[in-house]
Amino acid sequence: MQITINGRNIEAAEGSTILQTARREGIEIPTLCYLEGVNDIGSCRLCVVELSGSEELVPACNTKVKEGMVILTHSERVKAARRMVLNLLLSEHYGDCFSCEKNGDCELQKYCIEYGVETTEFTGARKEKNFKKKDAHPFLSYDPDRCIECQRCVKTCSHVTGRGAIWLGKTGMFSIIDAPFGEDWKNTLCESCGNCAQACPTGALTVKRRKAYRAWEVEKVRTTCPHCATGCQMDLVVKNGKIVDAVGADGPSNHGLLCVKGRSGSFDFVDSPERIRYPLIKNKATGEFERATWEEALSLTASKFTEIKNQYGGEALAGFACSRSANEDIYMLQKMVRTVFGSNNTDNCARV
């Protein structure tokens, strides 16, 4: 079907929304509560557009296209409405950006800058309620003062991870996100995966270590999770040569999701104080390991294995590969066993 967006004639697919059609055509419409395929409740109203023949502005995220629609995505009326939305959201969004871990990576901040909304003209009613921050969980924290009730976390937990550990609750006239990170976190359904935090557009629901870096201080390195064989794609977040975080990337087997091990257990070990950083040779007399040079350790290894091979044959030697390591490593390990140990006594931990 044919529609018109900002004066351009566009071929739109039956059943698609205004937002999907616009994005496909490279026309940016701001969204906050919208999360593709997960949340299109249209509650934030930031994505409103002007529709010919309609008195009211309509949300682009959940309004389906119709033949002949004429849409304006950035008219003065639309921009004024978006400024009002941001103004109202800010009135319930407390705390300053400088102390927020999402500073520079916050969608609310981004749109406020884009629409020139630096302060709010209104006084929010929630502040008096003094909703408490929930941050007893080892990895995750929820700060209601920064929450815009977009429900992206709620829908991610219920529809994407399928866990349903975060709820939309009510306290009097206020909606409140019931996040399972309070003192009773051990008795909740939460699996600590943190996909909720990755879905949060503001600094309300965060991974606690997010405090250690700002978006502009880091680089991201795309890699594959080192734990199970799902093969989740993720970005290691690197600041000053140290890994400070891991975030889910859109891979074919994980679609942006991670579990607790991938998000929170995949990098602390890398530069852990417990890493072995130098070759070690055991002193036979004391039974203690002593630091050695590579030359000493490799010479000893090669000479002892050669000695055994010469005396007892290659079949007296064996070498096991690690199924946590890379293909290239494993290929070379089995090549080593076959070419110089002189046996086929090579295996990996697939059996155990």
Binding site: V221, A229, G265, D271, E328, V340, V352
Partner: protein, 531 residues
């Protein structure tokens, strides 16, 4: 896996899970199974425990551990009895069906119900649900393989899928949800005593010669010893020198006392490691390697998808790339192996491994692949990879029914050791914990070993939930904390194997599968006592 994670979770009408707990062991697959249930896919869970997904299942067959072959034979008996078989598929694409029919004749639902400890009518329901769904995958994991008849268990699931024609199509297949990040790749790369890279059998004519030519050196033509069979050979001095790259068998192999004795019997023992593991402590030399975040390379996931890992950081000290270590040893032992980059090594892999023939780092990083990896078989640089196997034709040509008979587990409970113990993974740790236990928050959530006991057993022993208790088998004794619930059946208990303190493998049985030499981790007899 014959299929992809996406198609079995997004394009299936029913899912049959046998001995797999993906919510803990493969959580992101678990999340996608929950999505599948939410969109209306039916779920059958075959597992001795009330795993969380069992609560969402249409049918949960809470069978006795070690009875998978009987279960599968019972399913097939019902397919035949109720006319649920796919005769067209059987006649066009399979062989040995008559022998299969004969083999399952005696496995009536009533008999199987008795062996497995399940309701025969629920087995009938499961058979009907799986067979009559248009698209239904079988997913399985270590609950099937870690038995002395594990290989027969796998073949039985394959027989089942063949009989109802659920293979070679989206949303179907026989899908092992493999364990470690690169266990698929480790097998693909030929770290195997009887196979060179790409499952090229040593016993097949011309294969050893092929590698002798590629590597320019004479090779041993005799099949090697499987890792689990190496340990007894260390004790009797047939194996005297061992190089372990990154494994921690002291923690992860069964019968810990026996493993330690074997490693201590070696004349010379070298470990390439990141950490001072329980195994590394026994070494003569430790060579410090580097982790996935410090190197370039590839992992192959459970759906045969080869994906990149990339260097993010370097750490202080003298740790070296593992391929550098192996190359140095090769040179010092007389084989002139040049130092190659990981990309160059992958080029060599592609040359000698037909299924990886079209895979290179350059291609994996290209726009064409778009960060989606390549699924083998990928025989040529212009081949798009193979998401679903056995479409139209099986890898071996015709699908073969391989009948198997139920044989009870090696060590059954008796008067002295009256409980059957299973082992498995929890959500928060991975295997030997060498990586996950470096994260303080993970240890705060799941820092200690425990045992799941059935309420009736706990009551008869006067044990309370949370009580510290002793657990013993013929091989060892440990102390751990009792978690009392209905999760396991009466007479059965379960322990995670991650921990060394109060670790399950001090107790487990090193009886091995007759074909794969995989240990029977899932069944051993134990006794539980108050302290």
């Amino acid at each position: 896996m014959t299929n992809t994670i996406y198609d079995i979770t997004h394009e299936s009408d029913a899912i049959l899970m046998v001995g797999t707990n993906p919510e803990c062991a493969h959580p992101v697959i678990g999340m996608q199974i929950r999505q599948a249930v939410a969109r209306g896919a039916k779920l059958i869970v075959v597992d001795p425990r009330d795993i969380d997904l069992a609560k969402q299942a249409d049918i949960h067959l809470k069978l006795r551990p070690g009875t998978n072959v009987a279960f599968a034979n019972g399913m097939m008996h019902i397919f035949i009895e109720e006319g649920l078989t796919d005769e067209k598929f059987i006649s066009e694409r399979t062989e040995n069906y008559e022998a299969m029919k004969e083999a399952v004749r005696e496995y009536t639902p009533e008999k199987v119900g008795e062996i497995c400890g399940i309701d025969p009518d629920k087995l009938r329901e499961a058979a009907r649900l799986y067979a009559s769904a248009d698209r239904a995958p079988v997913m399985y994991c270590l609950g099937v393989t870690e038995h002395h008849t594990g290989t027969e268990g796998v073949m039985s699931l394959s027989n089942m899928a063949l009989m109802v024609g659920k293979i070679g199509r989206p949303g179907c297949g026989v899908n092992p949800i493999r364990g470690q990040n690169n266990v698929q790749g480790a097998c693909d790369m030929g770290a195997s005593p009887n196979q060179f890279p790409g499952y090229q059998n040593i016993s097949k004519e011309g294969i050893v010669e092929k590698f002798e030519k590629a590597w320019g050196v004479a090779l041993n033509h005799k099949e090697g010893t499987k890792a689990t069979d190496c340990f007894p050979k260390m004790i009797n001095k047939e194996i005297r020198g061992l190089f372990i790259f990154g494994e921690d068998p002291v923690r992860t192999d069964p019968n810990t006392h026996h493993v330690i004795k074997a490693l201590e019997s070696l004349d010379f023992f070298v470990v390439d490691e990141l950490f001072m593991t329980e195994t590394a402590k026994l070494a003569d030399v430790i060579l410090p390697g580097i982790s996935y975040a410090e190197k370039e390379g590839t992992f192959t996931n459970t759906e045969r998808r080869v994906q990149r890992i990339r260097k993010a950081v370097a750490i202080a000290g003298e740790a070296k790339p593992d391929t550098w270590i192996f190359t140095e040893i090769m040179n010092r032992m007389g084989y002139p192996q040049p130092h190659l980059t990981p990309a160059e090594i992958m080029d060599e892999i592609a040359l000698v491994t037909p299924s990886y023939g079209g895979i290179s780092h350059g291609r994996l990083d290209s726009e064409e692949v778009g960060g989606r990896g390549l699924q083998w078989p990928c025989p040529a640089a212009d081949h798009p990879g193979t998401p679903i196997m056995h479409v139209g034709k099986f890898a071996r040509g015709i699908g073969y029914f391989r009948p198997a008979q139920y044989v009870p587990s090696t060590e059954l409970p008796d008067e002295e050791y009256p409980l059957t113990m299973m082992t498995g993974r929890i959500l928060y740790h991975y295997n030997a914990c060498a990586m996950t236990d470096k994260t303080a928050g993970i240890n705060e959530i799941a820092g200690e070993s425990f045992i799941e006991l059935n309420t009736l057993d706990a009551k008869s022993l006067g044990i309370e939930d949370g009580e510290k208790i002793a657990v013993s088998s013929r091989r060892g004794s440990i102390q751990t904390t009792a978690h009392v619930s209905e999760k396991t059946r009466a007479g059965e208990c379960w322990m995670p194997f991650h921990y060394i303190e109060g670790g399950a493998n001090w107790l487990t049985n090193d009886a091995l599968d007759g074909i794969s030499s995989t240990p029977e981790y899932k069944v051993c007899a134990v006794k539980v006592e108050k302290l």
